[in-house]
Symmetry: C2
Subunit: 216 residues, 2 copies
DNA sequence: ACTCCCAATTTGTTATGGCAGTTGGCTGCG
DNA sequence: CGCAGCCAACTGCCATAACAAATTGGGAGT
């Protein structure tokens, strides 16, 4: 290991691969809330030393994707009811604005793309694949918001997605998901019609929906 | 250095002190945009090794307070005109909501406090102290938003403040700041009157203001 | 059977050193 | 005088090891 530190490959540095992998897992809800991660454990899994593992995990902590106890122990966060509602409110704020900004730039090619993603979502629903559902759902939103040409706002929205990932997945299990993405259809319809108020409402509902199934 | 690693004092770990100090400097605009920071340089300044320096700097990069080149070099960001406007739009979104949520809980004690901070701002203006002005200004906003009982939203707003810190300070220099905080007075008046639309408008103006002085 | 306590293990923190890529200035040529 | 190419210093990345705190588990005592 001393001989070949493998400095920079095609992609990025070592910790970046760890970071991206963990980030995707968390955002898609592949890790349950409360699961604790250790530096040496993550390092061993990715076959790196503690240093890049620490790097990746601390970055995720900074983004709110992981939470850290006072002693430095790191785990996926268990969100309180209040916090989850607050994060949903932030999503509503940001994503309504993103959708609104994307509206004037939404051509037919985009709408086709969204419809295609939407049928992909339905697939994941029938397969009962929670992580796949979340991934496809986020792809729908990201595809739309990319048109807003507002990278900082989109990044901020993704940070929120990251924070709610594990909890959303846990919620997914307990709600009987048989419904196809109704709100997404409303979004697409509003895009076609150029109906901004309708679009804002549909996005807000889609984002706020799914929080009415809590017991805490 | 090997003998006394000084593990954990009253406060937090070593990197945390570095982080907090740097963070405050950046948020208050004490560092100009484009200034580059090195691991060994920061480490030497705080009399620590590269490891905690790296920790703190990477965390700030993750929060958008610092930007990193492809080679890993870290510097304070130089924001484009578009990005600055986008960040201001995010501020408007979040802070209008925060103020609105704080309104029903704003009692006289809070308003007194805000007025006191406000006169402190005027002091900084006559002293021509840019960093002091920014610090007092942010304290005004934070004091108000704390009443909103929305920690995630407040944290997100602070992240934006962090990103615009150096640029705001650079802008401060080139705009002749003789005006006392007019918009803050409007905010206070709206709070007293319980006027929510007026409050939202005043906050939006205060947050959006100050971006009309760009040349880029 | 339950509680308390201590020791072994786990885990995070930091300093250090070697390695590789980057940078900036300097030399030498046109 | 200007520019290309090169070299030395600088800088970041990672593995490793020593250390301290926290956690855990079992054993002793009641």
């Amino acid at each position: 290991m001393l001989v070949n530190p493998k400095p920079s490959e095609a992609g990025q540095s070592t910790h970046d691969k760890v970071y991206r992998t963990l980030r995707a897992r968390i955002m898609h809800g592949e890790i349950l809330p409360g699961k604790s991660l250790t530096l040496r454990g993550v390092g061993k899994e990715f076959d790196v030393s503690m240093t890049p593992a620490r790097e990746a995990m601390r970055r995720l902590v900074a983004e709110g994707a992981l939470s850290m106890s006072l002693s430095g122990r790191v785990s996926t966060p268990e969100l309180s009811n209040e916090r989850l509602e607050e994060l949903a409110a932030i999503r509503a704020l940001l994503e309504v604005e993103l959708a609104s900004r994307a509206l004037p730039r939404a051509h037919m090619a985009l709408i086709d793309r969204l419809q295609s993603i939407n049928s992909g979502i339905t697939e994941q629903v029938v397969k009962q694949d929670g992580a796949g559902y979340i991934r496809a759902n986020l792809e729908f939103h990201r595809t739309l918001y990319l048109r807003a040409q507002a990278p900082a706002m989109l990044a901020m929205a993704e940070t929120v997605w990251l924070q709610i990932g594990p909890t959303m997945r846990a919620l997914y299990s307990r709600m009987r998901r048989n419904e196809p993405p109704h709100n997404h259809r409303l979004i697409i319809a509003a895009l076609k019609a150029g109906d901004e108020p309708g679009l804002r409402l549909a996005v807000r509902m889609d984002v706020t929906h799914g929080l009415r199934h809590l017991a805490t």
